[in-house]
Subunit: 130 residues, 4 copies
DNA sequence: GTGGTCTAGACCACA
DNA sequence: GTGGTCTAGACCACC
């Protein structure tokens, strides 16, 4: 699996990494027990600070996606929900609120936004990462 | 019109204010030529620093929602398109990308997210609060 | 590149900074991807408050000249048209109106003003300072 | 002579008034010894604060355009230069600098700006105010 | 190290 | 009364 980061993005690098791993798990590209690159290896590959990779991994451990086997590395954990349904929805709603505000500010109609959301969702999620 | 802010939120206060005004304009609660509260008045009401209100207002001036009449206050501007279509789409996409990342991270499916987006859009934009 | 500010001027410091960067981009002294000094560094150099520099930079982000990579700094953005033609013209006209008022008040003739505008344009934009 | 002010403009109201009188003198619509409306009368006509008119008039007295005959009103003074040539040019240059910065920021070429300046100058100055 | 947000408070221009 | 600019300094997130 290839990892990629977009430097100019507003999405923090650590989250880009976490998202890619999360997505790979969701699509089945990474299965339970699979290993992810070492912190230092991935930092070298992406030419970023190892702390940034470490932060991504530790967030994924906190959310139950990865587990750490000291001295061996990080591995995909068996999937479990760590957030309650309510909590997950609360966090999703927060981002959707942002989208709505932005849409209003940019004078897009609800249907324009919905179409674009659909479009980008298909584009980003149907194509499996390399 | 009543303004409200949530203190502990991840959304900065100045954006909460700008969002509320943006939405009020979108729903017609605020009309062209209407005045918004003075910087100091709103700051007193919300018990926040006037600079924070000023930042919200000046962002709205930059995006063409408000206009400023020096010494008199801020007023709802006639609606006009300030940004190019490309720019508007670029900004919208940026926010949608954030939503997609978030959805993946929270393990929501595309259709779950779409439904929720639809729901919140109707809720926030058609029904006037209070 | 050297940055300079004039303390006693009518032009606010944050605009002097933004103007200098805007001009450097126009003359090619700053190219796409170049970084500008960090907020704190420039504030130290010019012996002003970091917030003042931050305001200049964030204005330039709003107008598409700079982009911000969180935690890394500000960089010259690829040039793109952010505002609609109408909006650009509206803003230009606003400044020209100011010039006309000023000219009348100072009792300059239209041709005197035009000659001076031509002169300063060449002076400031073709010859790179220092 | 009719006086007009544009409320939504960035040009302060007191300066709009001063400019109109200055312009009328320049075009010959107001001659030496002519009276201008009383402070209160003009304030009523324009529906603005009398202080604002008073400020415009006192600026014009300071710059030698008007003279005040206490108890009788304000009159057009015999024209004299109060600013030195250098001082007038310095003030003009300041505004032109602003125009140049704005042009750069809005990505207009020097020739586009010059054409527009010519156009607006003709438009605003050739048509005599009612 | 970087920037982002917010507060408190000063001084000035404009109506 | 209104907003605009600037300073000083705190706390936070991200690299």
């Amino acid at each position: 699996m290839r990892y990629r980061i977009v430097a100019g993005s507003n999405v923090p690098i650590f989250r880009q990494i976490a998202d890619q791993i999360g997505r790979a798990v969701a699509t089945g590209d990474l299965k339970i027990g699979d290993s992810v690159p070492s912190v230092r290896q991935l930092a070298r590959d992406l030419v970023i600070n190892p702390n940034t990779v470490a932060k991504a991994y530790s967030d994924l451990v906190a959310s139950g996606v990865l587990e750490n086997q000291p001295g061996r590395g990080y591995f995909i954990n068996k999937r479990r929900q760590v957030f309650t349904k309510t909590e997950r929805l609360r966090r999703l709603d927060e981002t959707i609120d942002l989208l709505i505000s932005q849409s209003v500010a940019l004078d897009f109609s609800a249907s324009e936004v919905l179409d674009r959301v659909k479009e980008l969702f298909t584009q980003k999620l149907s194509v499996a990462p390399e």
